[in-house]
Each structure stands twice: as structure tokens, then as C-alpha cells.
């Protein structure tokens, strides 16, 4: 099978969008415009990324451009976390530090130990997989730590009143938040291959790679994602906790969202 489907192939695949539009019209879902807008927007974004990648991954181009790309991805990922967890103080800086730490650890292992050869063609996709798959868990843990400590303020203050340090007084609530953020990724890792064929492996097979070669790459990617999620959630959880206590071990005031 060829990986290149050509412009004609891409045009034919739009028939599947037509099915979605037809379904919306038939059931009067009033989603046709949204479906068409999403389709066009995704295509334009992908073409723009493809064009930019084409430039960055040019064999004559220095690796510095790829690193710049990775750095930009980390900043955008941190901005997304900031947007989705607005109530959490200093979450942009924490998320950026978390993604940077995850990148240093996971990419350091994969490239430093020679699992992948360091080049733009490997660096950018792996960094993209790392940040893309860590974002949801990072948002979740930031919000959960904040909400747990806000909603359980009476318990936390009762623990502080017994002379516990802020780290100890908040430990059960931070642990709950970390478990909540990590368990979905662990479950996804367990179910891989049984329920869904994961993206990297599917892409490689579509591109003509041998299935076992694709499986090895996919396994390395899964471990990359698991390590990355564990790192980002730990850094953010501990960072948010640190922001929510004063140096003399008092819980700072936290506002509840307005009732709607």
C-alpha cells in the first residue's frame, strides 16, 4: 500500500464528511455549518503545518529549527493548560516547567540512549506526541489539586492545626488528584492493541512499514507518553500545592466559581 494518497485521494475522502453533513441534515441536528467549518479549518491547519514541517525538516536545515519548533510547542501547550485551568495560580509557568521537565527526561532517554536517532524527523513528532498526550492529564491534575484543597479546606486546616506541615496536611488530597490524572493513561496503556490500534503504529503501517517494526515504535511511544504524563502531572501537582500555601503553612484563600 502506498502512503501517498494524492490530492484526488484527499478529495475522495471528503465524501465521508458529506456523510456527516447528510446525517446532520436528515436528523435536523443543525450542525452542518460546524462540520464544514471544522473540516476546512483542520485541512488549512494541517496544510500550514505540513508546509512548515517541509521547510524545517529539509535535509540541509540545521537541527536548531527543529528545537525551536519543539520550544514553541511547549509554550503553546502551556498556554492551553493556562486557558483550561484559569483559576489555578501561576499555572502557565508551572505547566511550562512541567512540559520542559518531561521533554528533558523522555527525549533525553529516547535520544540519549540511542532508541531513536536525533534528527528533525524524529524529534518533532516525538515531542508532539509527548506534549499532545500530556495536556489533558496536566489540566486535570492542576484543576483537581486546586479543587480538592479548596473544597476540603476545613479538613486541611484541621490537619494544619494539629501541627502538620503543608506538605503532610495536603498529601491525601494531592495523592487523590494525581491518581485521578494518571489512571486514565495507565488504563489506555493496558488496553492498547485490544480496543484500538494506536496512531503511530497505524500511521507507520499505512506508510508501508513492517507490522513488527511499527509495534516496536508504538511501544516506545507509549512509554514516552506514560513517562511524560507522570512527569508533567507530578511537577504541576507539587507546584500548585506549593503556590496554595504560605511559607508559614497556611492555606491561601481560594475563590469558588460563581453559581450559574
Amino acid at each position: 500500500m502506498r502512503a501517498d494518497i494524492g490530492w484526488a485521494g484527499l478529495a475522495i475522502s471528503l465524501l465521508l464528511v458529506a456523510v456527516a453533513v447528510a446525517l446532520s441534515l436528515w436528523r435536523r441536528l443543525d450542525l452542518e455549518r460546524s462540520i464544514v467549518w471544522a473540516t476546512v479549518r483542520a485541512l488549512v491547519q494541517l496544510l500550514a503545518v505540513g508546509l512548515a514541517l517541509d521547510l524545517v525538516l529539509d535535509p540541509g536545515r540545521t537541527l536548531a529549527w527543529s528545537w525551536l519548533w519543539v520550544g514553541t510547542m511547549l509554550v503553546i501547550a502551556a498556554a492551553v493548560v493556562r486557558w483550561q485551568a484559569r483559576e489555578v495560580p501561576a499555572v502557565f509557568a508551572l505547566a511550562l516547567a512541567a512540559f520542559a521537565a518531561a521533554a528533558a527526561i523522555t527525549l533525553g532517554v529516547l535520544f540519549g540512549l540511542g532508541v531513536f536517532e536525533l534528527e528533525g524527523r524524529t524529534l518533532i513528532p516525538l515531542a508532539g506526541l509527548m506534549t499532545g498526550n500530556s495536556m489533558a492529564a496536566t489540566v486535570l491534575v492542576a484543576r483537581r489539586v486546586y479543587e480538592e484543597l479548596r473544597d476540603k479546606r476545613a479538613e486541611v486546616e484541621a490537619r494544619l492545626a494539629l501541627g502538620l506541615a503543608s506538605v503532610d496536611a495536603s498529601r491525601p488530597y494531592v495523592r487523590n488528584a494525581l491518581r485521578t490524572a494518571l489512571i486514565p493513561q495507565i488504563e489506555t496503556t493496558k488496553a492498547v492493541g485490544l480496543v484500538v490500534l494506536p496512531g503511530a503504529m497505524t500511521g507507520l503501517i499505512l506508510a508501508g512499514a513492517e507490522p513488527f517494526d511499527a509495534v516496536r515504535v508504538q511501544a516506545a511511544v507509549m512509554y514516552l507518553v506514560l513517562g511524560s504524563v507522570a512527569t508533567t502531572t507530578a511537577v504541576v501537582a507539587l507546584g500548585v500545592r506549593r503556590r496554595l500555601f504560605t511559607p508559614d503553612h497556611r492555606l491561601v484563600p481560594m475563590e469558588r466559581p460563581a453559581e450559574v
Binding site: A154, E155, A158, L160, A161, G163, L164, H249
Partner: protein
């Protein structure tokens, strides 16, 4: 603010919190059994010492295995007092501890607090209930609009309040 001759700002806040035990207006039980709750105050607490702390709060040793969530309001508040006593505080600060309790639980808690005071643990009891202050206090401080309006005997405070 000073505590036993030291400016509290100069004291280690964690050590100070263990020296000044606090019981809140609402009983706050942690997840787990009563034993688990007491061990938050001291992870090395053995069952004998735990039973002793419960006894000072007028709870039987059998309570150790009870889920803290299952306690009545009065029992939960007494468990909180026992939990605080595990830290062996030099002073107890009780912030309207009986405001959400029924009459019997209120009497039990008041009696225990008087016993603690007799045992040499000074108690600072915050209340809006003047008859309760008269029943319990040796000394009364009346706060009005954030200032000390009176400091003296319970009888003197009653006279001041009667005069309006």
C-alpha cells in the same frame, strides 16, 4: 501577640500549633476510622495511648474501630477534642465548639473541658452564649467591634451586658 513570654512571630508555626491545640466550631472528621484520625496527630500512637485520649474526651475504647463518618455530631466533636489532646497541647483554643450540638452533648463537652482545666490545661473558649460563659469561665474577655470591651469576672461581664 505573645505566648508564654515569646512573640508568636518568632516561634516556629508548626511547633506553636502543637503547643496551642485547636477545636473548631464544626467537627471535621478525616476519612477512615477514629484510630486513623488520632494517628494523624501522631502516626506512632499505640492503642493504649489512643484509648487514653478517647477517655479524656469521654469516649469508650471501642470507638477506635468506628468509621469516623458514622459518629454523631457530639461524638465527632469529642473525637476532634481527643485528636487535639494527642498532641499534648499546653493550651486549648476552642472556637464555639458546642454551637452545633444538642443540649446533652453540649453539657458533656463543657464538663470535659472543665476537667481539662482542672488538670492544668488552660482553655480559651470562644462563645456568643453568655450563660455558657458564666457557667465555664474564670475570666471573661468581651470583644466588641474588634476591640476589648471588658476583661474580668463573668459576673462583671453580665452586669456590663445588662447595662447595654
Amino acid at each position: 501577640m505573645w505566648f508564654r513570654g515569646d512573640d508568636v512571630a518568632s516561634l516556629d508555626p508548626l511547633a506553636l500549633r502543637r503547643r496551642v491545640g485547636m477545636v473548631f466550631q464544626r467537627a471535621t472528621a478525616f476519612a477512615g476510622s477514629v484510630r486513623d484520625n488520632l494517628r494523624v496527630a501522631d502516626p506512632d500512637l499505640d492503642d493504649d495511648d489512643a484509648a487514653l485520649a478517647l477517655d479524656r474526651a469521654d469516649l469508650a475504647p471501642e470507638f477506635l474501630d468506628r468509621p469516623a463518618d458514622d459518629l454523631s455530631g457530639g461524638e465527632a466533636q469529642r473525637m476532634c477534642l481527643a485528636r487535639t489532646l494527642v498532641t499534648a497541647p499546653e493550651v486549648l483554643l476552642m472556637d464555639e465548639p458546642t454551637s452545633s450540638l444538642d443540649a446533652r452533648s453540649r453539657r458533656v463537652l463543657e464538663g470535659m473541658t472543665q476537667a481539662l482545666a482542672r488538670d492544668g490545661v488552660p482553655v480559651v473558649w470562644v462563645t456568643h452564649d453568655v450563660p455558657q460563659a458564666r457557667r465555664l469561665a474564670d475570666e471573661v474577655v468581651v470583644l466588641a467591634e474588634g476591640r476589648v470591651g471588658y476583661a474580668g469576672t463573668p459576673e462583671g461581664a453580665q452586669e456590663l451586658l445588662d447595662e447595654g
